[in-house]
């Protein structure tokens, strides 16, 4: 047979490039050469087999890509704005977290109406300098987006407080945070941006990160999205921890636990530090590369492998309710989930599908029992 032509025709057939007369010609050639039957059959199978793409890799690449676009100042919508959230955030997840629950405010579209209006209350510091202080607070159940004088953006999560002095930006950019904030800090080399929380101080030049430092939480968490930040722990001011992008620093509050330094991240000689801490990789959601740590700015309450007690604490702030878990066993159950549109009761009902409990509502208080 015409070998050359045989293979050309077979390739064309496999790639859907062959026309009718070519297909007919190939059929005849195959009949004349039955010894190739087995190979052809297998090649056809092999052809249909498609290697799976590694979506995780593509997700990571997409994250990096968005960061590069931002670095080049290419306008790509405001990825943390309220308008963008429903576009990026919804559809897909609904299927996966069908029981997920949520926030009323966005539904009405009048989100900002319900947000705590920035309370620009000015209090004298009682000091001789009488430094004026700007204070922004959010009630439980509401959030706020603030633009600082230098153009840096801060999203404040429910039940949080951000303060800064009137002289902000003159030599330093200093703020104090209690609660949770997502920071997008303008780059200004000569004026470092410093955040004080009750346990740690964070120094940055220009970057994006999330700080979770509620006084009643067990841990203070700092998640770096991009750029670089330097964290000092208050009771060990000499030791600095430099975080790289996609890393999260978790510091246990109020604990004096001596711990071996494993990370080798300290600039000075590695000491046993007097707060239990760890540096972890940030958890990206496999399906769409969203970050658990920053989903709240899109009005989504996300928790991954957290105890019911911790989840309840977040729900208290999120929904502005009091939750009491009366059963010690229930407090320790670990949960995964995402709430976005649900009310507090819908959220609790959703959780009931996964762990069995009963709840009772008394005014603003919810008591959970087995």
């Amino acid at each position: 047979m015409n070998q050359e032509n045989f293979w050309i025709l077979l390739s064309k057939k496999l790639t859907n490039e062959a026309n009718l007369s070519e297909l007919k010609e190939l059929e005849d050639l195959i009949l004349e050469n039955p010894e190739w039957q087995y190979a052809i059959q297998n090649i056809e199978d092999l052809w249909k087999h498609r290697p799976a793409n590694d979506d995780m890799l593509a997700e990571d690449a997409y994250m990096l890509h968005l960061q590069r676009m931002k670095e080049f100042n290419i306008a790509f919508g405001d990825t943390i704005s309220n308008d963008a959230a429903p576009v990026i955030g919804r559809s897909k997840r609904k299927i996966r977290w069908y029981w997920a629950a949520a926030v009323l405010m966005i539904v009405a579209g009048g989100a900002f109406m319900l947000f705590d209006k920035i309370n620009q209350g000015r209090k004298g510091m009682g000091n001789s300098l009488a430094r004026e202080v700007n204070e922004i607070t959010t009630r439980p159940g509401s959030k706020s987006k603030i633009e600082l004088p230098d153009g840096s953006i801060v999203w404040l999560n429910a039940g949080s407080k951000l303060t800064y002095n009137k002289d902000y930006g003159q030599t330093l950019r200093e703020v104090t945070l209690s609660g949770e904030g997502y920071f997008d800090v303008m780059k200004m080399k000569e004026k470092p941006f410093i955040i004080h929380t009750s346990n740690i101080n964070i120094k940055v030049l220009g970057t994006v990160f999330n700080v979770k430092a509620y006084p009643d939480d067990k841990r203070t968490e700092t998640s770096l999205i991009r750029g670089s930040i330097e964290v000092t722990i208050k009771n060990r001011p000499n030791y600095k921890i430099i975080l790289s992008p996609s890393e999260k620093l978790v510091v246990e509050n109020d604990e004096i636990i001596q711990r071996e330094n494993k990370t080798g991240r300290y600039e000075l000689d590695p000491p046993p530090i007097s707060a239990a801490m760890s540096v972890n990789k940030l958890k990206y959601d496999a399906a769409d590369s969203t970050l658990v740590e920053t989903e709240w700015i899109k009005n989504r309450l996300v928790f991954r492998d957290e105890s019911f007690a911790d989840v309840a604490m977040q729900m208290e702030r999120w929904y502005n309710v009091d939750i009491e878990i009366a059963d010690p066993y229930l407090s320790e159950v670990h949960l995964n989930g995402t709430f976005d549109d649900e009310t507090i009761l819908q959220a609790l009902d959703a959780l009931k599908e996964f762990i069995s409990f009963h709840y009772e509502q008394k005014g603003n208080k919810i008591i959970i029992n087995r």
Partner: protein
């Protein structure tokens, strides 16, 4: 396989609505293919990754014009190629425009034997055969078999004639088939000798 229609649909959403979800879908759809294609020219994973990002920055910047593109798939590969060449010339390295020395990465040789009715031994041979294809042949095979491009698109992309594409595909296929042809004869011989 990313069909032209799907790419066209996504590009349209991006162009008309600034649709970020569609933009991401397009990225996810094309990332591996374009990265591997870029790698074949740049020979560096890091640079290939960055280049795909450059391609998508270009897509975003020029999204309005994309509506007029006739074959979006070919368009994506073409800008990838053009940006890679620009990058290489900026680095003052030599460009192998004729694709003879491109370094092609293949996915399809890493198939799961469980899903096929062939033996490990044949599989090993096929992998070897595919890996030993001449670079240009391998590239053409990859673009058509894995990336789903049409002969015409590959011809245009690589500035080759349709006849060359046909011939190169035939070479690749014959080499793969030979792995199995040999196997069946040696196996039957083996069985025959056992019986006797």
């Amino acid at each position: 396989m990313p069909q032209n229609e799907e790419i066209k649909r996504l590009l349209k959403l991006v162009a008309l609505n600034d649709d970020q979800t569609a933009y991401k879908q397009l990225f996810m759809l094309m990332y591996h293919r374009l990265r591997q294609f870029a790698y074949s020219m740049l020979k560096s994973n890091e640079e290939a990754e960055e280049l795909v990002s450059d391609v998508f920055i270009r897509i975003w910047d020029k999204r309005v014009q994309l509506l007029d593109v006739e074959s979006p798939r070919l368009y994506l590969y073409s800008i990838t190629k053009n940006l890679a060449f620009t990058r290489i010339s900026r680095q003052k390295k030599q460009i192998n425009i004729n694709s003879d020395e491109w370094l092609v990465q293949l996915n399809s040789i890493y198939f799961d034997p469980e899903q096929l009715i062939i033996t490990e031994e044949i599989l090993r041979k096929i992998k070897q055969a595919v890996n030993q294809l001449p670079p240009r042949c391998k590239l053409i095979f990859k673009l058509i078999k894995e990336d789903g491009l049409k002969y015409k698109e590959v011809a245009e992309l690589l500035h080759l004639s349709l006849k060359t594409i046909e011939a190169q595909m035939a070479i690749a296929l014959r080499r793969i088939a030979k792995c199995m042809h040999f196997e069946i004869t040696s196996k039957s011989l083996h069985l025959a000798s056992k019986k006797s």
